[in-house]
Amino acid sequence: MKLGKIKINHYINYLVIGLLLIVLSSMTVAGVRFDNSLLFLLEKVAIGIILAVSLSLVVGFLGELSLGHAGFMCVGAYLGGKVAALLVPALGNGVLAFVISLLAGCAAAAVCGIIVGIPALRLRGDYLAIVTLAFGEIVKSLFRNTSYESFGGTLGLDTPRFDKKYLFIIAFLLVLLTLMVVQNYIRSKHGRAVTAIRDNEIAARATGINVTKYKLMTFTLSAALAGMAGVLYSYSNYTVQSTQFGYNYSIEMLVMVVLGGMGSINGSIIAAALITWLNTWLPTKLTGDLAVLQNLLYALVLIVIVIYNNAPKLKGFRDKYNLGVLLNKFKKHDASKINDDKAKWDVVPTKISMDEVLSVDFTPQDLGPDKEGGRK
């Protein structure tokens, strides 16, 4: 088995993140003390990546619009945080307690994933979007109205915080786990079935794909991963407050997925890292009277990038000058190969057709074993 170019491309994100992790953690072990701001940023970036990649599974690969991803995260954060708060006094604030709470948080979020996945079988497009949004708001409201003893009520749940020196290592290990689960899923026959459902549900059914099973499975998986991000969140903060997990947060995750290029895992990773960094960095630079400019800048950047990346009229321009915008570099625009005018609500009101689906991960040229020099 040759370790050709193709294989490296498939595993580039593991390599880069793994390398980053090894360097930083060995420095930590060697006694280098990082600034808190860097540690906090790394934790947040990791959470952002897990959220974006897991949402990308539903939006980019299953082709359903979800505006309630923060709801799953909320469930994970509360349940995981509660379990942690109960366990830590007994087990100490160590890896064991963390793993147990992680499992609890993921499981709880996964159950919610199934609950939301069931309407997803009946509803499409915007109707599903509003149901997921509603789910997120319901979860938020329920946790906000719990008693102080159970989940903290309006004050929020007090959760143990993991030693900040080491939490980012765990966080990035979880990022790698997420990548492994998501990428292995979509790069398998099961993932192929999911993309088939996205491309043409009726044809997929007629080809024998169990649509119910795969939709539920994808929703559940995505929710469980968001729950994982939630547990991580509860461990990186002293309090979990449900107001954090409103629809605005879900939309922020969606922005990561869309800016990263729908259906592109690497794009989602980069967009998540950049947006998280921007959101942490801007408030520290635009302080005092300038704080109001944060949202203004964010909004302008958002509008400009989205229009630049998607406007059909700018296509020629884009093909010519696509080096200027960073994110655009990771999207392949080959007019002859990819037809991106398929986005019509009227014809198939159900799907978000993607301009660019088979991006970095699956390009026709990189089909691996098919190529000369592939596996024999």
């Binding site: 490296i8 491309n9 580039i12 994100n13 880069v16 993140i17 980053l20 360097v23 930083l24 420095m27 006694g31 280098v32 003390r33 990082f34 600034d35 808190n36 701001s37 860097l38 540690l39 906090f40 940023l41 790394l42 947040k44 409201s141 906000r144 109205n145 102080y148 009520g153 309006t154 004050l155 929020g156 007090d158 915080r161 969140y233 990186s236 903060n237 002293y238 309090t239 407050q241 107001t243 954090q244 690497n266 980069i270 890292a273 942490t280 408030p283 520290t284 635009l286 302080t287 005092g288 009277d289 704080a291 109001v292 944060q294 949202n295 960073l326 570099k329 990771f330 392949k332 970095v360």
Partner: protein, 386 residues
């Protein structure tokens, strides 16, 4: 494509290493001024409270600096936006610390305040919060409040009701998803005499504009306790002015403050009586409060004038006073003092009978061992029945 990705990631990594590297270093080593840090909402729905704190604290800092600072050393205020969200606090807090923060006003609101109090105890940073009124904010020995804790306000209000309305039915109107309102409500209920019956109704963030149902529920009450902020209160009063009896009394806590100075809202158009229990009255006509109001309005207008600002103004002066007292008492506070060292000095002052006199929000302010403030809450009659 992949190459660019790899290069970018590598660049990010290297950048991270350079910015992040550093062994135990003192962020305050290069300070040329005492740095006061604060995190509060400057955008989003709660922005008005953060803005008031920012303005008033800056006003105090400017005044102190204009008067020569503390033995010639100036103060500097660093305020960062947390959008009233707890998860913004860690970033803000660490950035403040790295900018040389030596003492703090904590956070403006309670939600993010819980995060702040836990982070600050790790580094032993002293904070005196103007308005994060949650009961547990001063839980650690480095945290103090300038405002009344929610629970205490609830207790005081309950005592008032027990004394004046024993055996009667009163109305209760609160915001169910708000820490401030819920915190006061819980303690109010816990301390309420059994003989008082309550008619309760609530609202939440999802609807702060139409209170017809709530007014309908409360229509038989002649005394309504409303531990809410003045914006929804003014809407409630406007909508209820014909629907509730003229002799009804509205009784609020410090959140009511500002209701009579809000632009475009004429409190005199409300026939009912409006009272509040507060440490500040934005219509004060004498004393320190009057001086503060004049200065504030001259500089920032009366739009954002409220007890948040008044309290923040007092906080800055209280910190300044404590530091001055410590120096007068023989302690050294160099400009590059670390947050932790300064915290120890301030703690011993605040626990050592330090008293603030002639402040905007009260005279003879002291703090108890837990960090709660001791000052007199005054019951203001904002407007008599008409």
């Amino acid at each position: 494509m992949k190459k660019i990705l790899a290069i970018l990631m590598a660049a990010l990594m290297i950048a991270a290493m350079f910015t992040g590297c550093g062994s135990e270093k003192s962020y305050t080593a290069n300070n040329t001024e005492y740095v006061i840090g604060v995190s509060g909402p400057l955008t989003g729905a709660a922005a008005i409270y953060g803005k008031a704190v920012q303005n008033a604290a800056q006003l105090a800092v400017d005044e102190i600096n204009a008067a020569g600072g503390l033995n010639g050393i100036m103060f500097k205020l660093e305020m960062m936006d947390d959008q009233h969200k707890a998860d913004k606090v860690s970033g803000n807090y660490s950035a403040l610390l790295e900018k040389g923060m030596q003492l703090s006003l904590g956070t403006v609101t309670t939600d993010p305040g819980k995060e702040f109090k836990n982070l600050s105890v790790e580094d032993n940073v002293f904070f005196l919060t103007p308005s994060a009124s949650g009961d547990e904010i001063p839980a650690n020995d480095n945290g103090y409040q300038m405002c009344f804790a929610d629970g205490n306000q609830g207790k005081v209000a309950a005592q008032f009701v027990n004394e004046n309305y024993a055996g009667q039915t009163i109305g209760l109107f609160y915001k169910s998803d708000d820490n401030y309102s819920k915190g006061i409500y819980d303690q109010f209920k816990a301390n309420l005499d059994k003989s008082v019956t309550t008619v309760e109704t609530s609202f939440n963030e999802a609807n702060t504009t139409d209170f017809a149902t709530q007014i309908d529920t409360l229509k038989s009450c002649t005394f309504i306790f409303m531990p809410i902020y003045y914006t929804p209160a003014s809407i409630f009063m406007t909508q209820a002015k014909d629907l509730l009896a003229k002799e009804t009394v509205y009784y609020g806590c410090d959140g009511f403050d500002g209701i009579d100075s809000a632009d475009g809202f004429d409190i005199n158009s409300i026939p009912q009586k409006v009272t509040m229990l507060s440490h500040f009255n934005s219509k004060a006509t004498e004393g320190a409060a009057k001086t503060f109001i004049d200065k504030y309005v001259a500089k920032y207008g009366k739009d954002t004038l409220n007890q948040f600002g008044a309290s923040a103004y007092d906080c800055v002066y209280a910190l300044y006073g404590a530091m001055k007292k410590a120096i007068d008492g023989g302690k050294k506070i160099p400009v590059t003092i670390t947050a932790s060292e300064l915290c120890e000095i301030l703690k011993s002052e605040f626990q050592g009978g330090y008293t603030v006199t002639g402040a905007v929000t009260g005279d003879n302010i002291t703090w108890d061992a837990k960090g709660y403030v001791n000052k007199s809450a005054i019951q203001y009659v904002i407007k008599e029945a008409s």
